[in-house]
Structure formats: structure tokens, C-alpha cells
Amino acid sequence: PCHDTARALGYSPAALAPCRIMPVRWSRYNPSYLEPEVKKESHQKPLEELTEEEREQMELKAVRPIKAAPPSLSSSVFSDPMISKFTNMMMKSGNKVLARSLMSQTLEAIKRKQLEKYHKAPENEKETIECNPYVIFHQALKNCQPIIGLSNITRGGKTYQVPVPLTDNRKRFLAMKWLITECRENKHRQTLMPEKLSQELLQAFNNEGPVIKRKNVLHKMAEANRAYAHFRWW
């Protein structure tokens, strides 16, 4: 079984002899493997429209093997990578079915609340109300993302909180993490998760609510500690 797996992952027979399959956290594919292209539009483009890099990419795909597409990668128009990431973060003990149903119920709850507001609003305000739950989700996440973070740096025995720029991935992770922890911990025990999440997302969309407050607290601490910014070395 170990030799079959190694051959499937692209290792040559010479390298197969002393093989042992150890479970590891990183990818075990040979570096020559390319990522699968899932979007339908990129495959339907006629040959003339491709740029130089895309032509080279196509040449490369003819000779290199391609990795297997993970089950979470989808070519559907309804799939959204941010929503998938959020669902994964909400998931507990691998219960993806439950996490996905909670996510869809959340989006439905957002839509219901916005539609209620829309039908009650007077004519002139109807355009300002946003009803698309995906737009609300993305905008709420963007409003929750911190711009600058704090990191612990030790100088002369003392640890200081130094303001530090964050990468995009880290910002997105923090925003999602704050939303989920806020819903799990600081709400009444009997309210269901979709209800709590939709309320939080709508509040974040309007730049109010506890998650935005947490982000502002972080910004204020960074602003207070701006004198230590020189302790950074990157």
C-alpha cells in the first residue's frame, strides 16, 4: 500500500524502495504537480484570447500531472470560498453537515430580516436596504477586519505589545473568529446559532455591535502603544 500511494503521488520507482507512509500536516505531493483549475469560464475561453502566461500554463498542463481536487472545491456559481472558510471555522468535530445547514439558515435569516425591513420601509428608502445576504456577509466581514494587530515582543526581559501590520489571511481569520466566539459565548443560551449569527452580521454590516467594538478596542491599544513600534524588525 505504501508503494502504491507513493507512486500515485508522483515519486519515481528509485525513490520508492525505502518508503514508509507517515501522516504529516503538509502536502505530500511531488512539487511537479499542478493545482486543478475548477472555474468553467477559464476552460471556455477561445485560444486567441489567452495571454502569453496563460498559453504557457496550458503548455505546462499538457506535460505535468495535476493534483486531485479536494471535495470542498466546487465549480458551482453558488459556492463562495469565504463562506466555505466560515463554515469550516464553525464546524465542530468534523460535523460539516450541521455547520453547512447552520450557515444556510443564517443566510436565510438575514434575507428574511432584510425583506421585512424592505416591505415596511417607505418608498424613498427602499433602494438603500441591501437584501442580498452574500453582500451583507462580505461587507460585515470587511468591516470587522482589524487593520493593525498587536504582537508580543520581548526586550530586556519585559514583554511589550507592539503594533504590527497583519496579512490579509490573518485579518480574515480574526474577523471570522471574533464573530463566531461572540455568538458562542456572549449570547443567551437558548437562542439558536443562525439567529445569533444573523443578528451579529447585520450589526457588523451597519458598523455597530460587539465585534466592531472589539476591533476598535484593538485599534485603540495599538494607538496607545505606538511608541513601541520601533521594536519591530520586519
Partner: protein, 123 residues
Amino acid sequence: MAAPVYPAWVTRWVSGQWRNKKRPPTLRPPRTLALADKVANRREQSTEATCITEMSVMMACWKQNDFNDVPCAEEIRTFYDCVAKAEKERKNQNEDTLSSRGNLPSSKVNKLLKRFPQITRYV
């Protein structure tokens, strides 16, 4: 190392110093007066923090507008641009060329010196 052999004028000068009871010989090195083929291991000087001006401008804007992000969008954009540029700079810098301060790390210097050692004897 074995006791080094100095040129004649060095020995004469040193004994002259002792005879005139002026001062003890200033030249008593136990090793040859030649450069070694390695440098000491120096802790690599850390680079300075990047984008501090943009950050302070952004924070001043925050203080004025009560930490609201919407009026400070321009400053935030410049801060992000600066951070992206610094990140690219860090990725592109090659350790084989001189660093921004004009110093090579001691390991690289040692490798170069090993390739071209000091000639201690002529054959």
C-alpha cells in the same frame, strides 16, 4: 603556532627598547601577525521597522475621527500599499548581495575567506 620569526629590524628595535629601559616590548604576540581565515560570529543587526510614518499618520487620523474607518480610507490605503511594498522587498532581497546596511552576514564572509585563504608561506 611556532615562535614567529620577525625581520631583523624588529628584534633590534625591541631589544633597544629594553636596553634604554624605556618601556617593555610592545610587540609580544604569541601568534603570527597575519589575518585569520574567519571573522567572529556577529549577531546579525536587525533591520529597522518599516512603514512607521504611514502608521503614525493613520493613527493621527484615527484619533481625529474617533477610530472610524470611513473618513480615514486614504491613509489606510497608503498604509496597506507601504506594507505590501515592504513585504515584496523582503521577499526579493538576496542574502548573497550586500544587505541594506552594506554588511554581509558573518557566515557568508567566512565562506568567501575560506575560498581565498591568507598566504602564510611562499613556496
